[in-house]
């Protein structure tokens, strides 16, 4: 691995009372790659990416983006630094429209006096951009861009969240189990989208329990176990069985994998 990692974490620790969710975890993401994170339930995957995306602040450890030390105090700061996240819970506001949700926290204002002084939203432009992006990524056929997110099906909602991340992410896109609740068809669309985003050169972190999916799209697989990075493996040199064996403690990882 010669390229500079775009995002690194070293020695992250996060405790919830007596539970140690992260126990000196490390993390590396390289430019342009799809990195899958796998691990048992409760291994600390979600906590890891929450720390990276500013949703929680780790108790210890440091995070570097582009080699610069960063300390995100809120998801907003991570977002402003170019890290977009599709959370396990989606983070959409059910009563707001699709367009409003897409632009939540980065609304466009009208040009001139009305935007500058009256802070008026430019609804038309936001809706146009939202519609265009949704179509462009071909992820879903939305009938009405003004419809409230709560009227969408689970798959459609997931689509909105993914498209939002893909549209605005400028450095890193993180997805926490984006396909867990999705059907075969909908999952496929998300996987296609991941390929799409990757082809635009953006690196992606994908958390998933679905081994075939992971081995299909991932360039490297980060195996998380008991709050730590156990090893990183190359899916072309290891089988799914190997990955599962490492992840569940059935087998010790090869020592070279730790530096893959």
């Amino acid at each position: 691995m010669t390229a500079q990692p775009i995002l690194t974490a070293r020695g992250l620790v996060k405790r919830y009372g007596r539970v140690v969710a992260l126990n000196h975890a490390d993390f590396d993401l390289y430019p342009g790659e799809v990195l899958a994170v796998i691990g048992d339930n409760g291994a600390g995957k979600t906590t890891l990416i929450k720390a990276i995306s500013g949703a929680i602040r780790p108790d210890e450890g440091e995070i570097r983006l582009d080699g610069q030390k960063v300390d995100f105090r809120s998801p907003l700061e991570a977002r402003d630094a170019g890290i977009e996240t599709v959370h396990q819970t989606l983070a959409l506001s059910p009563a707001l429209s699709i367009a409003d949700n897409m632009f939540l926290g980065r609304e466009l204002r009208k040009p001139g006096f009305r935007g500058r002084w009256l802070r008026a939203l430019d609804r038309d432009r936001m809706e146009e951009v939202a519609r265009q992006k949704l179509n462009e990524l071909g992820l879903l056929t939305i009938q009405n861009i003004r419809q409230a997110v709560e009227t969408l099906s689970g798959g459609q909602r997931q689509g909105v969240a993914v498209v939002r991340a893909a549209t605005f992410g400028s450095k890193v896109i993180i997805m926490d189990e984006p396909t867990a609740a999705l059907g075969v068809k909908e999952s496929r669309k998300v996987l296609d989208l991941i390929q799409d985003v990757k082809s635009r050169g953006l690196p992606i972190v994908l958390i998933s329990h679905n081994m075939p999916h992971v081995f299909e799209v991932a360039d490297r697989v980060h195996v998380h176990r008991l709050g730590q990075r156990l090893c990183v493996i190359d899916p072309k040199q290891h089988t799914m069985s190997d990955a599962v064996a490492y992840m569940t403690g059935a087998m010790e990882p090869p020592s070279e994998a730790a530096v893959a």
Binding site: A95, Q143, V184, K185, R188
Partner: protein
């Protein structure tokens, strides 16, 4: 970096997906009768519900209580009468939209008006300064609520139950429970009574106070619906965690909401001096709950994130129309209280019935 360009290895059963049906399921409306259609119409236009209730009650009381009720003067009088509760309901709505509740709005307002009176009349400060300080105190009191809600993470109900007592005690302490007489205000700081002035149009008497109420609602409507901040308020009320993860500074937004609500209470304090004609520390003790009543009758959900800010204006008017109509119809106070009790329940039940329909 390793060979990222390798062709994806789809699972075999996924290959067929390219041929799958890409259409979106669309469903036809199938309303059977008038009630169903009405229900659907109102579902699409929830703000219409209180408006219709208002229209019906005005007409009904026109029949029951006669011309005296239906006169331009009386209708404008109702506007005057609800103006303070209406402005407080605007403040209350902001908080309720964030899924909170503010039991302290009335106490906050009275405290601010006592401060304005003390400074402007008794200590002889220039009136605009006194009013300004009153505004600031209102906003600070609101910020205290917001701070306790966000930083100490207490339920808004508890926080404002506590500050209700606190503001009330401060009010009595500052005022010595003494009103400041109308004549003294006229002599010292007539500007304090600005919102009591009125203009007459064809028998109707519009006080500046009732215009202020309408203006405040109009401004809040713009802010909530046409600015990013307004969208954030709805998002925070809808699902706070989601809003936080989506990149909204929810704590900051919440503190701002409570502070703005406090500021609106401060403005209400000025209007209240005009309305009452004096600074009365004993007034408006029921205003906390009355403002909540107006908000819920206006169709804003106590669970946050749902409802239009215009609703509470209409809600306040509905309560005013009921009070006025029942009074003019000669109904005993007792039964007025009784009627308002049922009105609250029935109005919200109707609202619930309408929201039940899916779009």
């Amino acid at each position: 970096m390793s060979d990222a360009g390798a062709a994806p290895r789809k699972q075999e059963f996924e290959e067929v997906l390219d041929r799958s049906d890409q259409s979106v399921a669309a469903f036809e409306g199938h309303e059977k009768n008038f009630v169903d259609r009405l229900q659907h119409f109102l579902h699409g236009n929830p703000t219409m519900v209180p408006v219709i209730v208002l229209a019906i009650s005005i007409i009904a009381f026109g029949f029951i209580a006669g011309d005296r009720f239906f006169s331009a003067f009386n209708l404008s009088l109702i506007m005057q009468q609800v103006s303070i509760i209406g402005i407080l309901a605007a403040a209350q709505s902001l908080v309720i939209l964030t899924a909170g509740i503010d039991l302290s709005v009335g106490a906050n307002m009275v405290l601010a008006s006592v401060i304005m009176g003390n400074l402007g009349v008794q200590m002889g400060l220039p009136t605009p300064v006194a009013i300004g300080i009153g505004f600031i105190c209102g906003a600070l009191a609101g910020m205290l609520n917001g701070f306790l809600v966000t930083k100490v993470r207490l339920p808004p109900f508890i926080v404002t139950l506590g500050t209700w007592n606190i503001f009330f005690a401060l009010n009595l302490w500052l005022s010595g429970a003494q009103s400041i007489r109308s004549q003294d205000i006229d002599a010292q700081a007539p500007l304090l009574k600005f919102f009591g002035e009125s203009i007459n149009i064809g028998g109707a008497q519009f006080t500046f106070g009732s215009m202020l109420m309408v203006l405040i609602f109009a401004v809040l409507w713009y802010v909530l619906n046409r600015t990013a901040w307004g969208r954030h308020v709805y998002a925070v009320g809808d699902d706070k965690d989601a809003a936080e993860l989506a990149g909204i500074r929810t704590s900051r937004t919440l503190v701002q909401v409570y502070a703005l609500a406090g500021l609106v209470c401060g403005i209400a304090a000025w209007a209240a001096i005009g309305r009452v004609g004096s600074v009365s520390p004993q007034s408006f003790q029921e205003a906390n709950l009355q403002s909540i009543t107006a908000v819920v009758i206006g169709g804003i959900s106590l669970f946050g994130g749902r409802g239009s800010i215009i609703g509470p204006l209409v809600g306040a008017l509905i309560v005013g129309v009921f009070n006025s109509g029942l009074r003019l119809a000669g109904v005993d106070v007792l039964w007025q209280v009784f009627a308002i009790g049922w009105l609250t329940i029935i109005a919200v039940a109707m609202d619930q019935w309408i929201r039940k329909v899916s779009a």
